[in-house]
């Protein structure tokens, strides 16, 4: 189809679109590389094996894994504010199933993931079939899941100690010298990338975010796909809860408070559009790593915890300006 003499493409826009897509594709990578350079210059201990693995494990057990689910949700032009609370529920349920009910590791993991997915099913069901705004519905689930985790744990941490060592290895163990949660995180990103780029599911959710009505009028069952992304998000939040419980040795309703904001920040720093339809897994991983490195630098520099939040907010704004300064010109 390249044989035509009259090119239909408006010339003045063509160059710009290319420029824009380059920034979109590599903007996060640039931010990431700059940060790595700054961190290396700042602290001799940054570029050491121990510290890097530490950063990765930190990322994996906080925003990293959940960011894949959030990316899927955001691609459909939705938002899932409940992930932090579902993570807490996952943490509490891990303690509940294995320590209080005495279930085995496999059964516990399976049941917790199931509960996380169930939370997503409820959130997604209301959004897809009853047309509730995702912001409101996931806000409601945020309250419900946090409440449930407080009820189940009676507000106290549930120690996993009597359930044996199997669980602690899940969050703290190493395979070939790499922390298990990090391996799990990479596996999830690879799976997420495959799903997003090479399957019908990935194509449809991206298209839904761009123009839901056009997808519906092409005969695609849009609600099912929308439910599915929230189920994935809930499931990964449950998984994050298991990792948290296993690393700390207790199931606690206090984990994941405010985590949803870090997760959303990671996805957005990764260049995904909150208006849906744009975003990818590699950039999301870079976004999560950027967040992790910023925290790490501040820790290495001895910035007090309360101050860190202020700097983090400011740095997110700068990162976003770099992403959007070009994007906003397009519209």
């Amino acid at each position: 189809m390249t044989h035509t003499t009259d090119t239909v493409m408006p010339q003045e826009q063509k160059g710009f679109v290319d420029y824009h897509s380059i920034v979109q594709r590599f903007g996060t990578l640039a931010i990431f590389l700059v940060l790595v350079a700054v961190a290396t210059w700042w602290s001799d201990s940054f570029l050491t094996r121990g510290n890097l693995l530490n950063v990765l494990r930190q990322v994996a057990s906080t925003a990293g894994i959940m960011a894949v689910g959030m990316l899927f949700v955001i691609l459909t032009r939705g938002i899932d504010l409940s992930v932090g609370s579902v993570m807490a529920l996952g943490s509490v349920l891990t303690g509940y199933f294995c320590a209080m009910l005495g279930y085995g590791t496999g059964a516990t993991i399976f049941l917790v993931l199931l509960c996380g997915a169930a939370c997503g099913l409820v959130t997604g069901g209301f959004i897809a079939y009853l047309r509730l705004p995702s912001f409101v519905m996931s806000l409601a689930m945020m309250a419900v899941a946090r409440g449930l985790s407080l009820i189940i744990s009676e507000g106290r941490p549930i120690p996993l100690s009597d359930a044996g060592a199997a669980f602690s290895s899940f969050g703290s163990g190493f395979v070939l010298g790499i922390p298990q949660p990090v391996i799990l995180m990479f596996a999830i990103y690879i799976a997420g990338g495959v799903v997003l780029n090479f399957t019908r599911f990935g194509r449809v959710i991206t298209a839904i975010g761009s123009n839901e009505e056009a997808v519906r009028l092409s005969g695609i069952a849009v609600p099912r796909y929308i439910v599915a992304v929230y189920v994935i998000s809930g499931l990964l939040a449950g998984l994050a809860g298991i990792i948290a419980a296993s690393r700390t040795g207790v199931g606690s309703a206090q984990v994941g408070i405010g985590a949803e904001l870090n997760v959303i920040a990671a996805v957005v720093i990764g260049g995904a559009s909150l208006m849906g339809g744009k975003g990818g897994v590699i950039n999301t991983l870079l976004g999560a790593l950027v967040m992790g490195i910023i925290t790490n630098i501040m820790n290495l520099a001895g910035v007090p915890g309360y101050h860190q939040q202020v700097y983090m907010g400011a740095i997110i704004v700068v990162a976003m300006l770099l992403q959007y300064s070009t994007g906003s010109l397009k519209r």
């Binding site: 390249t2 035509t4 239909v8 493409m9 519906r216 009028l217």
Partner: protein, 504 residues
Amino acid sequence: MVTELANLKSISKSFGGIHALRSVNFDVRPGEVHALLGENGAGKSTLMRVLGGEIIPSQGEVVINGKRTELRDPRDARALGIVVIHQELALAPDLSVAENIFLGELPTLISRFSLRRRAKQLIDRLGFDIDPGRLVGTLSVAHQQVVEIAKALSQDIKIIVFDEPTAVLGAQDAMKLHQIIRGLRDRGVGIVYISHRLDEVFDIADRMTVMKDGETVGTVATTDVKIDDIIRMMVGRPIANMFPERSQRTIGAELLNVKKLNAGRMVRDVSFSVRAGEIVGLGGLIGSGRTEVARAIFGADPLDSGTISLKGKALKLKSPRDAVKAGIGLVPEDRKEHGVVIDKPIRVNATMARMSSVVNALGFLKPALERTDVTALGKSLRLKASSIDAPVSSLSGGNQQKVVLAKWFHAGGDVIILDEPTRGVDVGAKAEIYALINKLAEDGKAVLVISSEHQELFGLCDRVLAMGQGQIRGELTPSNYSEENLLGLSMMGGARASNQGSQV
């Protein structure tokens, strides 16, 4: 010698590769009605956008009151007393009539009482009775238009442009509007009047300018010409050439049958059928329920009652998905919002209605197969694009529409419904789209075409159903195709409402 209020001198404008205007000359004098005529896509609205400051021309000059002026945005034009009333009205639906009328000059503290009183005076002066406190969104389109005119008159105007004002108005309201226009003319306002209704143009205009394919064919005084002369100027070449030959199709068995369809207020007791290889038109005024019929058949809106059958089998359509599965396709009226996912590649859009053909059992895409399929499809549809990976947004209107058509060619259903298939498409691409629609029918599909361009329906369709107020009011066959017959049937009340001959 009269000094012109506005003089547009050799204006050119191109969008991408398409020349919308080619050195067009147009002027408006005080106290005259200057009609601007031409087919859809001839460039009339674009020219008026130049006058209204919405488009900056690529070449040419705009002279207002004898002074060369650059209109950078609509506010510049407003400041000079130029108002353009578009077909798509620019009102805020959630504000009241009064607030809309005075939107540009709302005081910091809004006194509803005085605002509404002033609004009422303006509307009364126009001879209409509209409550200034009502929300504009709840008004009929005709009354919204009155609000738009009142809004224009709330300021001091020198030139006012009406872009097909009577297309949505009933006969009585149209007469009232003409009175308003004559009143403005007598006050020395220059009026540009765009309309497809030649009889009313001859009734009201002092001069006429005919445009075609982005150029002016000529400007004449109404007293010097007859309707036939104007039609010849507008058409230029025989319209029939644009349309494919009807005779090559063989019409087969009945595919789609719709019986006693009711859906909301706009679809009432609609029954008709379409056979394989047949192109049936759905005509009538905008707002007569044509789009609603299409959406109901496609499962996009719920049915209240009635049956839709395909090949004799009754369908239960709860969603577009059911319709697509059954083999029905829809090319929607609003291409950008409903037809395509505009920022996604051509390839993705073209296979969207039958993705099963490009994925394996596990849901993994088969990119190589998709590429070959879409490339072949693009070739057969004569799609002009830099690559099948280009986003649909990079294409011209006509080629975007071809992507929508490609989607349904790829889906391969039995019935295809096209709602305003050539809206916003330039003349050359139009003929190609007509050929593609014809090809769908040649392939043995049942085709239903909705269009506001009557010539398009007559040129393309084997028969045309006339709709009015949600009902099918009658049927035209090629022997009695004429604009009057179609509008007559469409606008006729109960007298000939019997559903003559629409069921085979």
